[in-house]
């Protein structure tokens, strides 16, 4: 969001010369905003000569910031603060007073003023205060939009989860409907198929629920980590041996390079197992009969690169681009009958982040897919944070 925010300032003072003076100072004033979303704030300025005029202006076009003179003809600055607070308007007010006593400041703060400036206001005081106000406003907005975005993402996650859980329920209910009617006279082949498929769908649900729990556990930092000195080769070798069972059924060759350890790493063994198991099971699931899976580990100074390459069905670029998103699975002719929760790579991505690492994918349809994981080698034992 490295763009320019325009904040509206309303200057309320009965002395025209003071209003013009403040406008001159603020007209070309730019506040640069530090941080990840470095941007800047500029100001658009309006005037009012009295509180009554100001209230009217606020109704028409509410400002972000109000520069309010304490002593006004008619309604006073403090009265006006009260009105604005009562109307619940999100306006930050800076009160300007010739009698800037502690009492004034306290009274102003009580009524919701952000700051108090003493008259005569020097230009650098004015800009310093406006800078503070602008930063406060923008951080407040960013925090708000971040919170809203989080809520939206959580809602979407739960909606899709509901959908993904309803699908197997619908399928199993459909099968039970058939069994319920004892006169449906199904053959034993159909009977076996109904039972087998119903159980398979229930297994799929179980996997989805477990993945969902893993994901939320990692994300919330609730998962207990056990970071210790481990041999990455040994972890990989164990996972490869397990994967060879499923791979063998499909005539796939699985290899691991290098062919011996140790590759020392400070890590949580179970997390590394999740990484290998995930990538290996994908490489087997999405492979073709008689293909291969190549796992390689390359230590390079402070970094370790893990690569899992398959000779499978591959993905189109748009599928590869979204494969790390929650519940996103490449959905096409070739993947329709391959079960999966759509959360495996989401989990993997969050674990890799715990190691200051990254994961990427390269894929070509009908040629194969290669996942590359980079992990930082020295990781300090600390609680999980996603």
């Amino acid at each position: 969001m490295s763009d320019t925010e325009t904040l509206r300032i309303l200057i309320v003072d009965d002395e025209a010369a003071l209003r013009r003076g403040m406008e001159r100072v603020l007209r070309d004033f730019v506040v640069s905003l530090p941080g990840d979303d470095a941007g800047q704030a500029r100001f658009e300025i309006a005037h009012a000569a009295s509180a009554e005029e100001a209230l009217q202006a606020i109704d028409q076009q509410p400002p972000d910031i109000l520069l309010l003179d304490y002593k006004l003809p008619g309604l006073s600055g403090l009265d006006m603060l009260e009105r604005i607070a009562a109307a619940g308007r999100p306006i930050l007010t800076v009160l300007i007073s010739a009698y800037a006593t502690l009492e004034t400041a306290v009274a102003a703060a009580k009524r919701g003023a952000f700051d108090v400036l003493a008259k005569p206001v020097r230009p650098e005081e004015l800009t310093a205060t406006i800078e503070k106000v602008a930063r406060h406003l923008i951080y407040q907005r960013q925090a708000l939009s971040l919170a809203e975005e989080r809520k939206r993402v959580r809602y979407q996650f739960v909606s899709i989860l509901a959908h993904e859980l309803k699908a197997p329920l619908g399928a199993v209910a459909g099968y039970l409907d058939i069994l319920k009617d004892r006169e449906s006279a199904i053959g034993s082949g159909m009977y076996d198929q109904i039972i087998e498929r119903s159980l398979a769908r229930i297994d799929g649900m179980k996997k989805l629920i477990n993945d969902m729990l893993d994901l939320t556990r990692i994300e919330s930092g609730q998962r207990k980590r056990k970071v210790e000195a481990i041999d990455l080769y040994d972890v990989a070798d164990t996972c490869v041996e397990v994967a060879k069972v499923d791979a063998g059924e499909r005539g796939l060759a699985v290899s691991l390079t290098p062919d011996r350890g140790p590759i020392p790493l400070l890590a949580d063994r179970s997390e590394l197992e999740i990484i290998f198991n995930n990538l290996l099971s994908n490489a087997v699931k999405y492979n073709r009969e008689g293909g291969s899976v190549e796992v390689s580990i390359v230590p390079n100074g402070q970094q370790i690169t893990i690569r899992v390459a398959d000779t499978g069905i591959g993905m189109a670029p748009e599928e590869a681009a979204s494969v790390f998103n929650d519940f996103t699975r490449a959905k096409n002719e070739k993947t329709r009958h391959i079960p999966g929760s759509g959360l495996g790579l989401s989990i993997l991505k969050r674990i890799v982040a715990l190691y200051d690492g990254d994961v990427s994918v390269e894929s070509q349809p009908d040629i194969g897919t290669t996942f590359t994981v980079h992990l930082k080698r020295s990781v300090t034992p600390e609680p999980a944070r996603a």
Partner: protein, 130 residues
């Protein structure tokens, strides 16, 4: 039990188990069934066959595949009733219903059923529309 012997029904859904269950039940009602698991195959069957009624799932390889199939069906076979099966709409951002005339005019389906569906529900709609 209602008898639809000699009638044909086109079913498009990417859930092979749901499809298996529906086909079994519909055959018992006498229907000839024609099925597809993708939008592409569904479109081909709309062009190549003349079913008496059609049932489409909304989400296939595209989020709104069912809408497209409904449109294509109504263009090719204007008189054939169409039932649309819908999942949660939240993730698609598509919120719709066929309550008002305006909504009916753009969703080219004669009935919509929210998933997960029970077979009796579907059977009721089929009996109403045929």
């Amino acid at each position: 039990m209602a008898d639809f012997t000699g009638k044909s029904i086109l079913l498009v859904d990417d859930d092979v188990d749901l499809l298996t269950g529906l086909v079994f039940q519909l055959k018992r009602l006498g229907f000839d069934t024609v099925t597809a698991e993708t939008q592409r195959d569904g479109e081909r069957l709309i062009d190549e066959t003349t079913p008496d009624i059609a049932v489409f799932d909304l989400m296939l390889e595209h989020l709104d595949a069912g809408f497209t199939l409904c449109h294509r069906m109504k263009r090719k076979h204007p008189g054939t009733p169409v039932i649309l099966l819908t999942g949660v709409t939240a993730e698609t951002g598509l919120e719709f219903d066929t309550v008002t005339a305006d909504e009916r005019s753009w969703v080219k389906a004669d009935a919509m059923l929210a998933k997960p569906i029970r077979f009796e529900q579907l059977q009721r709609e089929i009996e109403r529309l045929l």
